[in-house]
Amino acid sequence: MAQMSGSKKESWNSRIGVILAVAGSAVGLGNFLRFPGQVAEYGGGAFMIAYFISFLLIGLPICWAEWTMGRHGGQSGFNSCPGIMGRISGHPAGKWLGIIGVVVPVIIYMYYVLIEAWCLGYATNFLLGNMNFPTADESLAFLKGFTGMEAHGSGIGFAVNQVGIFLIVSFVLNFFLIYRGISRGIELFCKYAVPMLILIAVIIVIRVLTLGAPDPANPQNSIQNGLGFMWNPNKTFLVEEVVNDDGTLGSERIREFVGPRAREEAESVVAERQLALQADADSILPALRIEKVSLWQQLLSGKLWLAAAGQIFFSLSVGFGVIITYSSYLKKDDDIVLSGLAATSANEFAEVGIGGIMSIPAAYAFLGMAGLAGMTSTFALGFIALPNVFSVMPGGQIFGFLFFFLLFLAAVTSSLSMLQPGIAFIEEALNLTRKQSVALLGFITFIGTGYVSYFSTDTIALDTMDFWVGTVMIYVLATVQIIIFSWVFGVEKGFEAAHRGSAIRIPLVFKYIMKYVSPTLLLIIFSIFILQSFFGLAGGEISDKVLLLIGTEDVAPNPVAWGAIAIILAFALLCVFLVSTSQRISASTGGQKTLPNQPEN
């Protein structure tokens, strides 16, 4: 077996570098596509209140806990999540639970790199002038052809309108950078990519905010109204009375008023309809009325809180096993409190400050509210609505290229961070060099990415992995991490460890938040999520990802979805085997302060 004797410990080159790397890990597609879609769907202002509260009570506490545990574990010579959590907990259960911190990022990488390739492909096609979609239907047709959504394997080709070549470029780029190591690969790339990403985003934001009302025939379709659609705290709907199938009277929202005089506009439309009905007693036109939904009414929605907490989760990369690995490469007196806050704030700035005023307002201005209906999901907004918008926008070829190149950069900085936990784990479990670990992880992820890329019909393989790993397992890992930090490691000891070398101090109130509030909230949110998605209880419906596996009365269980589950289980079992046979990781739960032959920082 190769020995670590005499080797120098891998580490970050500068504080700015590690901040940008962690920020780059967090800034991804979710900032520019998922976040604005969620804000629009859940009522703008109300969503933001729930979002900021979730940030303070869940996101920031787990973030600091991960930074602290990572650096602490790194001082004992562990960089993998099983090793770090074994050392922090001092119990064998810690290393087994830590396996989730390897499975999550590696499995997510398998499909995330494919979406990254979509972004690169869209950017290239915009640059080549191939993206001309007068309507969303044509945009959807391109997406289906490019990704192979219509038939398995149909996207795997090397024409410019197929994903194949872009997937190879993205895959190789990631492994080239990860092969170069922490400082010369990840850090160096993020030092240039993250500022460039923010610069491009600012250029696009300026362009979007100066669009005004691009279609003079539809002055209501303006950027200002698009911002209102996203951010108005109180909602004003026009409601039409309808007769249900069973003969009872019901109502249906047919329009939302988002302008500065929303109430007056709505009243005017209702008055016109009343006059028309009074003038013609035989009219078949349905009656109209106004429905106002206040900020406080929206805040009573459990779904809104679940969505806000979920967005914070995915946005900050907490529960991914990434931050804990990255921070393990810090030295024992390196600041982590300010660095953690700085990386988090950079992500929030990109998400709220840029993502919040870019995608949805632009789509609203060109497509209108009707065109945006059903387009607020990440995929629909990013790969159907926005390509359509850039196609009809003046200068859209260059701005379309910039936007998708921005997404590509954001995706690369994130996917890089998903590989490092796997590399650290393989190095630690098998005592391999980085070169050997990169080769092994490259082989494993190639199989997974190949599966997701080939079985592309309706993105079932991708969606299955995203649900079970990118949603369910992230909740589990984040909950486990905050409980281990606060209750096993101990919040007092944790604060003492966090403040070693810190440039600022964590407010004392976070001791109580981290010990009681964060774990309780996470357990509540996860329980509701399980009840809704698995059992259709608590006001939810059984997730279609669950139904894909168990089938329904009319549809048999989906073999592609089960194949994705098999890949997840196979990789998880491999990790279990490696942990069970690794003396090095087993030593994490032992008493010695540092491993033999490990340098003290």
């Binding site: 190769a2 020995q3 670590m4 080797s7 120098k8 410990k9 891998e10 580490s11 970050w12 080159n13 500068s14 504080r15 700015i16 901040i19 703008g44 202002g45 933001m48 900021f52 092969y179 190591g181 922490i182 400082s183 010369r184 160096l188 109204n225 911002l227 209102g228 951010w231 108005n232 705290p233 109180n234 988002v258 302008g259 500065p260 929303a262 030295k331 390196d334 600041d335 300010l338 660095s339 806050l341 700085a342 704030s345 950079a346 929030e348 700035f349 998400e351 709220v352 400050g353 919040g356 005023i357 190095e427 005592n431 060099t433 980085r434 070169k435 670990s437 990169v438 440039a503 600022i504």
Partner: protein, 52 residues
């Protein structure tokens, strides 16, 4: 956009922008923060062959 919408937008973006700027200011102005912890010249273990 309504007046309430403007308040919500400005408050939200102002908060995150303020926090971001403050963090960057602190990172750049605290003397220790700008020191290089290591140099790019330092070789990382991945570049070495353990068996050699």
């Amino acid at each position: 956009m309504t007046f309430g919408g403007w308040i919500m937008l400005i408050t939200s973006i102002g908060s995150v922008a303020g926090l971001f700027i403050w963090c960057i200011y602190k990172v750049l102005t605290i003397p220790e923060e700008t020191e290089h912890i290591h140099g790019f010249e330092q070789e990382t273990p991945d570049a070495e062959h353990y068996d050699s």
